[in-house]
Amino acid sequence: MSIKMPVPDAGVLGRREEIITALRRIVPGEGVISSAAEMVPYESDALNSYRQPPMVVVLPNTTEQVAQVLKYCHDNGIRVVPRGSGTSLSGGSLPLADAVLLGMGKFKRIREIDFDNRVVVTEPGVTNLAISQAVAHAGFYYAPDPSSQIACSIGGNIAENSGGVHCLKYGMTTNNVLGCEIVLITGEILRIGGKAPECSGYDLMGVITGSEGLLGVVTEITVRILQKPETARAVMAGFPSVESAGECVARIIAAGIIPAGMEMMDKPATAAAEAFVNAGYPLDVEALLIVELDGPKVEVDELILRVDAIARECGQTTCQISNSEEERLLFWAGRKAAFPAVGRISPDYICMDGTIPRGRLAEALTRIRELSEKYQLRCANVFHAGDGNLHPLILFDANLPGEMDSAEAFGADILRTCVELGGVLTGEHGVGVEKRDLMPEMFSDIDLAQQQRLKCAFDSQGLLNPGKVFPTLHRCAELGRVHVHAGKLAFPELPRF
């Protein structure tokens, strides 16, 4: 692990037994896990190159228990790391040695399905897919579809503002959530928003979504559900260059078409995916584009022809149009399995998540190729082409000395490139620990101070999920000081932990 986490509080560690006893009083039975062996599954999330056993794991059943656990931790100065299903790709729920790991896995009940208001009220431990399944009989679904949707919890989706291949048309989590019940670190239980289309006052739901577990612990969520489109079809087009595929993406958008999904893979990613699932991908193209249209059949049929015509103009060399649901799913099978497919051709890989302006795609891929040569590591690229979200997969072997460090340095350079090209560090995976120290590439000290001031409004002692998102910890009193003079705020240089 090459990132520094906050120094554990020796005083807290010294009181471990007392803390465990107190937590057992709040959550009786098997809800408190403290043996080293039983805590192993909680040592990491999906960013599994980072590992840390927590001080203790607590798995509450009720909002009241969550409130009591948080209040106890608040009153006793104990750090808390919230966790959903543990599928974060950025280390969002990486434990701390001196922190209580608060697992929300027992909040597994869907509380209400309200078709008339087109919402589902659910507990946070319910998986993303389970929401869609619970309303499928009436033709509804929950739109955001992160690729981990079988496992990831809706609470984690709120924390990370998760996306998915369909978010170009249907939005991210933040565009599909209406309200929540949230417990603050003080133990206070608040209701924000609800079934109404927007909340009153400041849009607190909007800022809680994507706050990576630093503002509070969500115990109930109200999400919007939509009617499933009548039909969906996909075009799969191969291009002789990344440039021509990128041009095709731009022209589709310029023609006023917002596809349900628009995904691109480069040659190495296509080859790995094809070897894994035999989806019939062309292996002699530099870029493969999958464009999915959904809606009424008459609309999809017409838009498919328009997309095909645009792809021709842009010099596509291969083209297949799905004529059945099986065929459509086959087109996607390779793309959806791209990560494990890459896992088969390399002992280890890390997946990056920058976003760039779509128009800079060719430039970004050229820069990535140059970095690949510099670091002597292979890289395969999959790309949510419609919204500019790039997922370079860096292949390495952790058993070779120095290769893990090289891979991380390569990844950091890719994200710096994204920012340089006018993009951002993360499109959907979150900052977590993974990109924490890169935040200054995108934000000034003032930008980060303003975000941390907001954190202070929710958690004035910085006890919730410290060491994530922000590269430097500041005291709230210091952040809240008003400096009345012309020019920039005098920002004291604090050591990075």
């Binding site: 309200d114 078709f115 008339d116 208001n117 503002n161 996306g163 939005g171 991210m172 933040t174 565009n175 603050l184 206070e188 608040l190 209701r191 609800g194 109404a196 289309p197 927007e198 009153s200 006052g201 400041y202 849009d203 607190l204 909007g206 800022v207 706050s211 958008i253 310029a254 006023g256 917002i258 809606g295 009424p296 008459v298 609309e299 017409e302 838009l303 302006p357 779509r358 919204d387 500019g388 993009g423 951002v424 993360t426 499109g427 959907e428 979150g430 900052v431 990109k435 995108m442 000034s444 930008d447 980060l448 303003q450 975000q451 001031r453 907001l454 202070c456 409004a457 809240g480 705020l489």
Partner: protein, 412 residues
């Protein structure tokens, strides 16, 4: 009154720094088109943002627009319209409702108010379309949040807080918005003569169908008094229920047919296409039946947001019990209520009933005297109120920016 006409973001920072030094509150103003909404600002120093009107960049192929916060909304809309694009959330022009002329105001004002139009049911609100912002906080510091890409989760999404904060958190100077392709064609299904509860039921059926409804509004016959209005003409003395479909022509035609069948139990729908349809929705969006120069011009007007399916009963009850009039947008999720003048504009009744169904109410139009005694914005419950205050404090610790605009009787 001291009007400080700033030229650029650096000027804004300097002004806020200076007012901070004097602990002098500052009213932030674009064109002032929505100045009559909220409580009167407790200050005589005005920051005039209208000169920050640059179109910084417009990239239709990236679906991105970056403009100064003082850019006139009307100009921006005609610019993006020239590329067949629009703001999908259909921002409201409140000028007619408030009686402030025609000016739709600035982009900064549009975001600070965050009043979305009929298409909110499909495409979300202003908050769903603000991607990035540069702003000056009440610390007198310029910060940025978000970015110039459509997909971004880097750091807290402060854009969400800025939308609908009525300038009380920070002064936006430059903003990046998502623009979307304008639908090629549209049709509106027209149902006549439904009572409010039945109409909301019909709209619920439409919005719960797979036909991708992009607008669902109901106007009781009593609100259609303006004889020059296209709405009145189509209604022919009856209540008017409108359901809009948009997209490519073939798809809209197909869906209009299917939806007519779905709604058959509520009556035989007339279908009006592009020319007529495009003319109707701006009238709904801007709440023209309650225009300041119309039959209801002297009444206070509430904007009530509630779970859509509960809208019919809530609206009908409020109208019946106060002798007032209501109209519905967002399939019942948005009720505009013009209630007869009364010492508190029926605030206790409106808020009590809205809360009972999980909604909230804003007193959008009322004389200043009334606004000095009634909370314009829905008072939050105590825990949320305290958090709201801490959030305000985290952006504007001395309560410099639009002091008192959102909270009656606020002191620093």
């Amino acid at each position: 009154m001291d009007i400080l006409k700033v030229r650029d973001a650096a000027d804004v920072e300097q002004v806020v720094q200076a007012t901070l030094a004097n602990e002098q509150p500052l009213e932030i103003l674009g064109h002032g088109s929505k100045r009559a909404i909220g409580h009167a600002s407790a200050t005589n120093a005005v920051l005039d943002m209208s000169a920050l009107d640059a179109i910084v960049s417009y990239e239709p192929n990236e679906l991105l627009l970056t403009v100064g916060a003082g850019a006139p909304l009307a100009d921006v809309l005609s610019l993006i319209d020239s590329k067949n694009q629009h703001f999908a959330f259909e921002p409201m022009n409140s000028a007619k409702l408030l009686g402030t002329g025609h000016d739709a105001g600035t982009i900064g004002g549009m975001l600070a108010a965050g009043f979305a139009g009929p298409r909110r049911v499909k495409d979300g609100g202003a908050r769903d379309h603000l991607l990035g912002a540069h702003a000056v906080s009440g610390f007198g510091e310029t910060f940025k949040t978000g970015g110039k890409v459509v997909k971004n989760v880097t750091g807290y999404d402060l854009c969400k807080l800025l939308c609908g904060s009525w300038g009380t958190l920070a002064v936006m100077t430059e903003v990046t918005l998502k623009v979307m392709p304008r639908p090629e064609s549209q049709r509106t299904l027209v149902l006549l003569g439904l009572d409010d509860v039945t109409a909301v039921r019909a709209m619920t059926a439409a919005l719960g169908s797979p036909y991708d409804v992009s607008g669902a509004a109901h106007l009781p016959a009593s609100v259609l008094r303006d004889t020059d209005s296209r709405l009145t003409e189509i209604a022919g003395g009856k209540a008017l229920t409108l359901v809009r479909l948009e997209g490519i022509a073939a798809s809209v035609k197909h869906r209009a047919g299917s939806l007519t069948t779905t709604l058959a139990t509520y009556g035989a729908a007339d279908v009006v296409d592009d020319d007529v349809s495009t003319g109707l929705w701006p009238l709904v969006r801007d709440v023209t039946p309650f225009a300041a120069d119309g039959a209801f011009g002297t009444r206070p007007v509430w904007r009530i947001v509630c779970p859509p399916a509960s809208g019919g009963k809530l609206g009908q009850g409020l109208a019946g019990d106060t002798g007032g009039d209501v109209l519905y947008d967002w399939g019942g999720g948005l009720i505009w209520a013009a209630l007869p003048a009364d010492s508190d504009a029926h605030a206790a009744l409106v808020r009590g009933r809205a809360e009972a169904v999980g909604g909230h109410a804003t007193l959008v139009r009322a004389p200043e005297t009334l606004r000095s005694t009634v909370d314009v914005f829905h008072p939050p419950q105590s825990g949320v109120a305290a958090l709201t205050q801490r959030v305000k404090h985290s952006f504007d610790p001395k309560n410099i920016l639009n002091r008192g605009r959102m909270t009656r009787g606020t002191t620093p």
